[in-house]
């Protein structure tokens, strides 16, 4: 990386911070801070969904998935496409949620099941979500460390993490959802150009047919292409669940549906976003596969470092700067969306209901900003101390499962089953906690020897569903809420 690349990165980051300061003037109240005043058009909504979901972290873990599973891991992208497309065509869950005009999933719990479910749901959501983003900073720092060709020293990694954190915190606290949306838009353009160039140079360097031929020289056909034999049916089923969760249950995605201008746009948004979900998986995965081929199977290089090392070698000067600027923008975009999402949920759905009084908009924004700083400190420390060896995608799946295995049944049954009760909802949400067992350090602590954490996630999902049904049948609510 030379001076031209570094100049491009510095100019770009300065520009994006300027945008953050400028958009601060457009945040008038908490709704503006949280869901951009519910004033987002279709195109912008699709872009921001892609902008948020196609972050540096996504690119890194999907590239890692490509390195590990090769083309057979493409089934994850296909599952995400089909599931999101079905949701977009049918309007399942999303239309009903948007019609309720709630700002978040816990607010829906409140409307449907009451305050206790809201607070519990928001707490579990925050635990799962915060654990989920715990490794983001470290992954971003690994990318920077490798693409700049820095020494793979732990101290350098920590310094990069601290600098990245500072950048993200300043940006996120300045704006709120409006600046998130504008950064997402700019990031989408820069990252798209960077992506197109990376793919062009990958194919130019390795050669389209050579990618497949080289792989077939290293691994067998089944290992490269067949997901059923390579990963097994339980893993594939888990990916279908994750596809549904990523599109509908995960707060950073559903916030986009709740921010959109009117109900009629929600279905269109999801139809287009189904392609976004495909793109965000397949393209980084492809870059991971190219890196694997380029390094002849990637011996002696960690699966996470392979893709950035590869890009730093194949991209010409200037373009490398543009790609890194795009990736850094993607990093900021994901972080600000996530930090904003969790902090506003903690403020809106835990602190305010527990305080038993209506907090003013200014006070809520201040509390959210304090929480953003606390979360920033947490991801810094978690990144330093967590030593699990699971693939990042599996780590994300299982930490997210703490929240979503319970949330899936609570949301679906709550919307479509009149008999769903608040006791059933609380039992289902608590049932989701069983997925903690899937986390590698917990598995090792308890002594469970299982290679596939997806199986634990599926069992937790089944457990939550049964608890929701039994709890609702045996402990019905006295006052039924119709939605």
């Amino acid at each position: 990386m030379n001076y031209l690349d570094i100049s491009i990165i510095i100019i770009y980051l300065t520009f994006i911070l300027g945008i953050g300061i400028y958009t601060r003037n457009f945040v008038n109240d908490f709704t503006g801070f949280m869901v951009a005043g519910r004033n987002v058009g279709l195109s912008l909504s699709v872009i921001t969904m892609l902008g948020t979901e196609l972050g540096l972290i996504t690119i890194m873990y999907n590239a890692q998935t490509g390195v590990i599973g090769l083309f057979s891991s493409f089934h994850i992208g296909l599952a995400a496409l089909l599931v999101t497309l079905c949701i977009g065509l049918s309007g399942f869950v999303i239309v009903k949620l948007r019609e309720l005009k709630v700002k978040s999933i816990p607010e829906y719990y409140n409307v449907r099941f009451g305050n206790k479910t809201r607070i519990l749901g928001a707490t579990l959501l925050s635990i799962g979500g915060i654990l989920n983003m715990g490794l983001f900073l470290k992954i971003g720092a690994i990318f920077i460390q490798n693409i700049f060709g820095f020494n793979s020293d732990e101290t350098i990694l920590i310094v990069i993490m601290a600098l990245l954190l500072l950048l993200v915190l300043i940006y996120t606290m300045l704006g709120g959802m409006i600046s998130v949306i504008i950064t997402d838009y700019i990031q989408y353009i820069i990252l798209s150009i960077g992506f197109l160039l990376s793919i062009y140079y990958s194919i130019k360097t390795i050669g389209w047919s050579n990618i497949f031929m080289s792989l077939e020289n290293i691994k067998s056909y089944e290992e490269i292409y067949n997901p059923v034999k390579n990963m097994g049916p339980s893993y594939i089923s888990w990916q279908v669940v994750l596809g549904f969760v990523s599109a509908v249950i995960w707060p950073t995605a559903i916030t986009r549906a709740l921010s959109i201008k009117d109900v009629s746009m929600v279905k269109k948004q999801y139809i287009w976003s189904s392609f976004s979900f495909l793109i965000r998986f397949i393209l980084p995965c492809f870059l991971g596969i190219c890196a694997f081929v380029y390094f002849d199977g990637g011996n002696n290089v960690s699966t996470l470092s392979l893709m950035p090392k590869y890009l730093s070698l194949i991209l010409p000067s200037g373009i490398l700067g543009l790609v890194v600027a795009g990736m850094l923008a993607a990093f900021m975009s994901t972080h600000d969306s996530y930090l904003l999402c969790w902090s506003t949920i903690i403020t809106n759905d835990i602190i305010e209901p527990l305080s038993n009084k209506k907090l003013s908009s200014d006070k809520k924004i201040t509390i959210s900003r304090i929480i953003i700083i606390i979360l920033g400190i947490y991801i810094f420390y978690w990144g330093m101390y967590y030593k699990g060896s699971d693939a990042i995608w599996d780590y994300l799946g299982i930490t997210g499962a703490i929240y979503f295995t319970g949330a899936i049944s609570v949301i679906i049954f709550g919307l479509y089953w009149e008999k769903a009760s608040s006791t059933g909802a609380i039992m289902a949400l608590l049932g989701g906690l069983t997925s903690l067992v899937g986390l590698e350090p917990v598995r090792l602590f308890i002594g469970i020897k299982i290679d596939n954490p997806a199986l634990i996630g599926l069992l937790a999902l089944a457990c939550s569903t049964i608890l929701m049904i039994c709890g609702s049948l045996f402990f019905p609510d006295n006052n039924k809420v119709r939605i």
């Binding site: 004033n39 058009g41 195109s43 892609l50 949306i181 838009y185 292409y225």
Partner: protein
């Protein structure tokens, strides 16, 4: 089922959709931002 062919077709489809979406949404997204900030 020929898995290799399926993944190759899916990859090419993804490239095409990426370019289509980039062209379509870059322009219309800009108009959305202008409308949102004007309000």
């Amino acid at each position: 089922m020929d898995w290799k062919l399926l993944w190759q077709l899916l990859l090419i489809f993804t490239f095409i959709m990426f370019i289509v979406m980039f062209i379509k949404f870059t322009y219309s997204g800009y108009k959305d931002i202008k409308n949102m900030l004007d309000k």
